[in-house]
């Protein structure tokens, strides 16, 4: 339902995010200048003369001032042109469209896992505060947050792929290859990614639900004669939904970042391995294109969450 209040909220947010996008891409562009290494040397090949390197630099506009390079790139973006990879010559937008679905499948599975496991755990702990169940969930959650996901990933590969060969150790299959093979390949990376997210969802949900269940309005609900089940499922969950949405947003952003490492471990041709490869070789157009895509996705998700806030909490988004 796009009410007038919500449309106004979306308009206001869009105005706010424009400078964020420019700033994010500008910072990434700036960081590349600080990192050692030169793609012209790579492109020129072995035993290239200084003159040849300078020629290549001029060819790709790498000899121009920093602001001019950035301005040129930004101008292209405004016209829907993210440029071409300096290394492979492939159109950046095409690579992004090819590789993003691979990463999104893993991140999506990880998010689904973290909600499917984290939410029941959080509810279980919150409805029995101080009990053994609560202590168990809390310690599992601490463990999940503390485990480095690349280490967990290697452990999973060693056990389930190399030892028992239930899952493939590396690679990915797109959804177009069929749901079964795609999920089979996505399973281990998703689990490795999800461990921390499950813990985060369970912990956050537990603490906000405990707070809601001990609130004065919940005491009123008891005084009205409602059953604990009705109080939990009807009132408890609606009251924590805003917190839960916030956690989902944060977890999604983090998963998107963490997939860079996980894709490296599993040799998955997603957006993460693409940006790592580009960063090592200073392939500017690719790095910029991926960063822009990530920023846009994060911003779009946050906007969606902002709108959803107003659905669950009538106090948000009004004049």
């Amino acid at each position: 339902m796009l009410t007038r209040d919500r449309l106004r909220l979306i308009r206001r947010r869009l105005v706010q995010v424009a400078p964020v996008i420019v700033l994010a891409t500008f910072i990434v562009f700036g960081l590349q200048q600080l990192v050692p290494g030169d793609i012209a040397v790579t492109l020129a090949g072995d035993n290239a003369t200084d003159a040849r390197i300078a020629e290549i630099r001029a060819l790709y506009g790498l000899d121009r001032p920093f602001l001019a390079q950035y301005g040129h790139w930004l101008w292209g973006v405004l016209h829907g042109d993210l440029g071409k990879s300096l290394l492979s010559g492939e159109v950046v937008l095409d690579s992004i469209f090819r590789r993003f679905p691979v990463s999104l499948l893993i991140v999506g599975c990880a998010l689904a896992l973290s909600l499917a496991i984290g939410i029941p755990l959080g509810i279980l702990a919150a409805t029995r505060p101080g009990s053994r169940v609560d202590a168990f969930v809390t310690s599992i959650a601490s463990l999940g947050v503390a485990l480095p996901n690349f280490w967990l990933a290697m452990l999973l590969v060693a056990t389930f792929a190399l030892n028992w060969t239930i899952f493939p150790a590396t690679g990915a299959k797109p959804l177009s290859a069929g749901l079964g093979p795609a999920l089979l390949h996505a399973a281990l990376p998703s689990i490795a990614l999800a461990a921390g997210a499950i813990a985060e969802v369970a912990r956050q949900l537990r603490s906000s639900l405990v707070e809601v269940l001990s609130s004065q309005y919940v005491r009123t609900l008891h005084a009205k004669g409602l059953s604990p089940a009705a109080i939990l499922w009807r009132h408890g969950l609606k009251n924590v939904s805003v917190n839960l949405l916030t956690v989902i947003g944060l977890v999604f952003n983090r998963l998107l970042g963490a997939t860079v490492v996980i894709e490296a471990v599993f040799a998955i041709p997603g957006i993460g391995s693409m940006v790592v490869h580009a960063a090592i070789h200073k392939d500017f157009p690719v790095i910029q294109g991926v960063v822009l895509a990530l920023v846009l996705i994060v911003i779009a998700l946050n906007l969606l969450i902002d709108v959803l806030y107003t659905v669950f909490d009538p106090r948000i988004g009004q004049k």
């Binding site: 005491r219 009123t220 004669g225 409602l226 609606k238």
Partner: protein, 333 residues
Amino acid sequence: MVTADSPPLLDVRGLGIFFRTAAGEVQATRDVSFRLEAGERLGIVGESGCGKTVTGLSILGLLPRAQSRVVGAVHFEGRDLLSLSPRALRGVRGREISMIFQEPMSALDPVFTVGEQIAETLRVHRRMGRKEARERAVEALAQVGIPLPSRRVDEYPHQLSGGMRQRAMIAIALSCEPRILIADEPTTALDVTIQAQIIDLLVDLSARTGTALIFITHDLGVIAETCTRMLTMYAGEVVEDAPVDSALERPRHPYTSGLLRSIPRLSARKSLLPSIPGRVPSPADMPAGCRFRPRCAHGVAACAATQALLDVSDARRARCIRQAELDLPGAIA
């Protein structure tokens, strides 16, 4: 007033409330006994920390189960509420006995409309469809004097003023026409002019529907205006139980007398009363014998023994060994 052949509507006997704390179990109230007749308006008065609120909550079993223990009996229509199953108790809450609270903003669920919160009470206790429950919610809002009830029914608590919220709270509590309404400091958080309106509304509704009121407050002025009986609590004990008029005129316990003389400046925020030195002892640190003795100007050697609630007359009791001999000043000097 109390006759042998008609049992009272509510009969609280020897109510003792214990809380588990890190330092062990402490007793918050001891031997609290009182009766409430149908249609009666009972005021429970005392300073903060005297056990008024926990007494009200314990009647409906609303104290946190994991951290509290309640002994004694609360007889209501032939049943002891303290020994009812959780399921049976839910059938009493909101239908037979309702409760309203001090802070109407935090006592209402912020993400449900006022109408939904009234309707769900009706739907829990009466088999009722959504449409009918909504119509009844509008009627309930009109009954508590909320203007434009058919519009207010779809508004959220934050869209209402403090007084309107408390009216909505009362509408929820009275939606199932309960026999008893427990009002815990219902006007403390409101402006003075709104306070008077809410009190008038409660008295008016209780007179019209025959709902008995238990009015928990630190404000003796409110009790003088609204109640028929007055129960004075001090340090977890009932120290005086009397008809309001006679208690105001001639209190039988030095604490009641001290409270009455403090009326003009009595405030919940201040823990010191102008006419009574000292402050309420904490539950973990109760004086032996008469609990009021350290603050009392009339103490004698016999006060060192544990005091019983003594009969003053048929309708009056006081927990003071000198109740017959002392001539204590009341509110009407």
